[in-house]
């Protein structure tokens, strides 16, 4: 009875809240052009950043600060999971190998998955995608390895250091911008050095977007792999 009451109360409450939010969104009509800053981005993205993909330009360049935060959030997640699931000694406890299809497939696919991931983040300024999907794709490769082989482990020491170093790399890129251009996260490659101005729409353009996306891709890849590693392994009592 209590449960029914609770459910019905919840439903009534939620419907009222939903109605309230919905009537507010009625004031933000769907499908209309409400752009203000967005239009500026669209108008100037090519000239100012060298990227064709406006989303990427916004993410990495115009609103680079958000992305720095985003990377940090992921870093926190990986660190946090590492901290919480930390044990003096951990190892994998899976008892069965993956099926032959899985193991074989993994063996052949793994390099391609990595390459595809790299492709995604390197071409972030041109096509949909970017560092995060790319990194996630790379992590998928490692997940495949975990699923296929019971003994496999990522080299966590190395991954951790790499994670830290690439993270630092991002900030250092930003600090170089501060030194060269006078602003933190300033796109010195595009705006000061003006590299690839003739190449808009091709790979070697977009200022530091590909650089940063590479960093992010590597970082996301290692972090997500680390999270998987942490969650899969269990404590060994001696």
């Amino acid at each position: 009875m209590v449960s029914v009451l609770k459910r019905s109360l919840a439903i009534i409450t939620l419907l009222i809240i939903g109605y309230w939010i919905a009537q507010a969104f009625a004031g933000v009509p769907f499908g209309q052009d409400k752009m203000l800053v967005g239009q500026y981005y669209l108008n100037n993205v090519k000239a100012q950043t060298g990227a064709v993909n406006a989303v990427t330009a916004v993410v990495v360049n115009y609103r680079g600060f958000d992305t720095l935060g985003e990377v940090t959030v992921l870093f926190i997640a990986s660190t946090g999971v590492g901290a919480l699931l930390w044990k003096r000694k951990k190892e994998r406890t899976a008892r069965t190998e993956g099926s032959i299809v899985l193991t074989t497939g993994t063996r052949y696919l793994f390099p391609f998955v990595l390459i595809f991931g790299a492709y995604i983040f390197i071409h972030g300024h041109l096509t949909p995608g970017g560092g995060f999907p790319g990194g996630a794709t790379i992590a998928t490769g490692f997940l495949l390895l975990y699923m296929a082989f019971i003994v496999y482990e990522i080299p966590h020491k190395g991954f951790e250091v790499a994670e830290g170093l690439v993270g630092m790399g991002y900030v250092i890129v930003g600090l170089i911008g501060l030194m060269i251009g006078g602003y933190f996260l300033f796109d010195w490659i595009w705006q000061t050095w003006q590299l690839g101005t003739n190449n808009i729409g091709r790979l070697l353009s977009g200022g530091f977007i590909p650089v940063i996306y590479t960093i992010i891709g590597l970082k996301v890849g290692t972090e997500l792999s680390g999270i998987i590693d942490n969650m899969i392994k269990e404590e060994v009592r001696e």
């Binding site: 309230w20 800053v37 870093f75």
Partner: protein, 495 residues
Amino acid sequence: MNGQYAALIIALPLVSAFFVPVIKAISKKAVMPFLLLVTLAQVGIAGWVFNEVYTSDKPIIVMAGGWRPPVGINLYIGHFAALFVLIIAVISFFMAYFSIKAVKVEPLDKYAMLFLLLMLGATGMIATGDIFNLFVFMEITAITAYALTAYNKTGEAAEASMKYMILGGIGSSFFLIGIALIYGATGTLNMAQIAQLAGNINPTVAQVGLALLIFGLAVEAELFPLNAWAPDAYQAAPHPITVMFSAFVVKAGLYAAARLLYLMQAVSTWHSVLRLLVIMAVLTVVVAEFSALRQRDVKRMIAYSSISQVGMIAFALALGSQAGVDAGVFHMVNHAIVKALLFLGVGYVGIKLGGTTLEDFEGLGRRMPLTAFAITVGSLSAVGIPLFNIFWSKVRIMLAGVSAGYTWGVALILGASVVEAVYYLRLIHRIWFAGGGERLSESFALGAIMLFLVALILVIGFYPNYAWSLAQKAGADIFDVTRYVSNVPLMGVGA
């Protein structure tokens, strides 16, 4: 030096946090000293920023990527932010040292990273001038806080973290809905521009948007009844982290709420939002004080006390008057000092005596006189005894509250303060006049930190002029929206 170098307050903790794995790979023992060093450097930078802002009397606008707002994200380091960034840095520095003594649970390198990122998150929340960036920093703060709350890896810690997480998750989701509404209505995310456009938004959208933003932040700012996670988190977190929660993490949430609130003054239902906030704030004070009354665990008791003080700050900030905001900011500063001292003292007792229940505090005056003295001064200050700092801000809040027409609110808060006096004074009696025990040795450096905080309390208590002038400037920074808007070099996109 160029004002843009103020970006270092964000960049330094970040780069240091990323550097920790490398340090760990070199030597595990170097991690904590490194943490200390970084926080010290942060104090230096924050001090420079503070000096810069207060001597030039102009805010520093850091434009990330060189884009002028609203195209790029800007940091707005005005009087308030400069003051609080400094407070955050100093407290973090102290707590970094305290962590060396207090935190023994592995893995310390992760702890160091999370510590730095918590500091970063709060700094960012206070400094940012962009509403979505605020969300990002809020999440940085929140997720680090989740992780650190559970850091001790006991059942209680995990439980507290879980509660925090679920409530925080709901809060942030609705905050994001609020952002969506505001963005949809204005087409921009820059706070200054939102302030400019706020008057023209569809009233329903503005009302719901503002309400949701405040709702999301109120969870972080521990307003009743959204604060249920707070006592658990305070109690279960490692001692230095509790200090940081109370001293500045909550403050960041409060500040953000106040900032958004005043930026959106032009919204037609603004005053009703204020009234609602005042009600919530008063209830926060009353419920928290009563909850603390018979608390057996001192850390939890002080946590409730902290919540109630935060409620008082929220009350002041929600008054909608210059006097109220000034008083609120002043109280924030004082409360940061006092609660840092109290949690530090209680935490140190917890480490030395193995627990923080009331029984552990019996005879503390004989066992750990210095710590006992510090806790006593902190308690007396929290009660609002004159010649301690909180007295001044409390008086200010009360005057502002009644001037704004909330006599009932002030009456209830004062009534709750009586309850506060009761439990703090009981604690003091227990410390000095009950029980006994052998004298334990106390850490010299921690003693020095405590005495420094005690001295601050007394200096502000005896001669609050300087602190008050700071608070006034910082308060004007929040309240005077026109100045805020004019200080941000908007490009005039679309407008």
